[in-house]
């Protein structure tokens, strides 16, 4: 691809979601509308945060994007190709790191290469590079049980990047971490995003985290899950701890919090 082509791709809409609806157990007594008429788009290279209270269907949306879940109505496209089933150019980071305890850190990061049938030698080289990027150099031969929670989640981010996916889907990746580690991980993730130039979709229930990391924040509300508003975040990058105490940052988080209050999410 030429430089001009890449430039074009960067500004292009990568993912389009149109009138997306997901109903669990349709026609049964326990029928549940998880997602109702979601319409949005995600640009290539953007960092999108999706924030919302529990039960707003944000994880469902992520699983649909990952191809792990079918949808009921509407359309989801990546590069104008409808999303039906899992794709090789998607990397997923789950809430728990889900490292396999019998594999060393390096072998865990190598898992996608084995499953996708990539060249093992090249992949091992890349795995070491990625582990260095997530600052786990020297831990390659440790077992996951020997790592802290934050280190485990960093290893799982390296694993999700191994097969060089175009998009990284993250489902509340730092939800299980303590507040201090979580702030550190936010800084790390911003750096990883800047270095890898991936499109990232991050699910979170932390408003400050969503604003701190996102180019744009999708605000979702619950019962039924709807996309309440798309809020662009134009804070300068790289963002750091002082960003969080800036007035503009406070204004953004306040704006989002007000949306939830208005929707009655905190009643």
């Amino acid at each position: 691809m030429t430089d001009a082509g890449q430039q074009g791709a960067l500004s292009r809409e990568f993912i389009r979601i149109s009138r997306l609806r997901k109903i669990f157990g349709p026609g049964t007594a326990s029928e549940l509308i998880a997602l109702k008429d979601i319409t949005c788009s995600i640009r290539e290279g953007n960092f999108v945060s999706i924030v919302g209270p529990s039960g707003c269907g944000k994880s469902t949306l992520l699983r649909i994007l990952a191809g792990l879940l079918d949808y009921s109505e509407g359309s989801v496209t990546m590069d104008d190709q409808p999303v039906r089933g899992t794709r090789r150019d998607v990397g997923v980071v789950f809430q728990n790191s889900i490292l396999l305890p019998w594999r060393t850190v390096l072998d865990n990061v190598m898992l996608p290469a084995e499953v996708l049938g990539l060249d093992i030698k090249a992949a091992r080289h890349r795995a070491r590079e990625l582990l260095a990027m997530v600052r786990l150099e020297g831990f390659e031969n440790r077992l996951p049980g020997e790592l802290s929670g934050g280190m485990q989640q960093r290893a799982s981010i390296a694993r999700a990047l191994l097969h060089d996916p175009r998009i990284l889907l993250m489902d509340e990746p730092f939800g299980a971490l303590d507040a201090m580690t979580r702030e550190q991980m936010n800084m790390e993730l911003q750096r990883i995003w800047a270095e890898s130039r991936k499109t990232i979709v991050l699910i979170t229930h932390s408003i400050p985290e969503a604003v701190f990391l996102g180019d744009v924040v999708f605000v979702m509300t619950a019962r039924p899950g709807t996309l309440e508003r798309v809020i662009p975040v134009d804070l300068p990058r790289p963002r750091n701890m002082t960003t969080m105490s800036a007035a503009a940052f406070g204004a953004k988080t306040q704006e989002i919090r007000a949306l939830f209050n208005h929707a009655g999410a905190f009643d």
Binding site: L68, L100, L106, V115, N141
Partner: protein
Amino acid sequence: MSEMTTVSRGANATKEGAAARPKMRRPVSPKIYSLILLVALLGAWEGGVKLFQVPQWLLPPISDIAVALWNGFATSPFARDGFWYHSFITTAETVLGYLAGCGFGLALGVTISQTQSLEAVLRPFIVAFQSLPKVAVAPIIVLWLGFGLASKVAIVALLTFFPVLITALAGFQAVEPERIELLRSLSASRWHIFTKVKFWTALPFIFAGLEMAAAFAVVGAIVGEFVGAQAGLGVLILQLDSAMDVGGSFAVFVILSLMGIALSAIIRALQNRVLFWQPRQQSQRTINL
């Protein structure tokens, strides 16, 4: 490869840790107390039998048993009245039956677990067969397969088959759904989901089954030999009993328990190698299930 390095590094770390604190008093190992207790019990046995003049057919003195062991093993390996020959027969029956039973149980467990509906259909049958006391079938098997090695191998296989099958099925069911989802997110095939995740997650369960089966294996061989055989330690016990050689019988018991200990020690060693990633506490808990 990498697994090996991890294990050896772990071992080194422990050694270094021990070396770093040479001044600390090492607590006396419970093994020492066990040994002292054993010697005391054997001494009391010998002394008690001699003191109260217990008849030899009721309870032979330890020295009789030791002498019987010595005489039994001081024969040619091929002598039909020596311990070597009979021990070899029983060991062969136990090991062959164990391998066959465990292998078949594991293979069937893997096959059944691949299809959920098949497992649902077969489960009542498995439960029904499991609740049948397998030793009750031993006479029929001897009738079918004769007095030779085959019938005993079949009985041992039958006894070891079920624990492995049941634990394997439980293990494959215990796989965390999120691990499967991780593999699915990578478009993994069913084969990959099995080899990369399911099998490994089931391994601790399977080992619990293998250890249970090891205890059953020797029982199966002896019961088979009681029912009908030409050679083996079970046959030897019957012969010694009818000759009122109680010391000899006790000597055979010693051999049998050594066989059982050896078999489960092998399984445990294998388990420690394969399940190096499991915290010791956790694997212990699985075994006690």
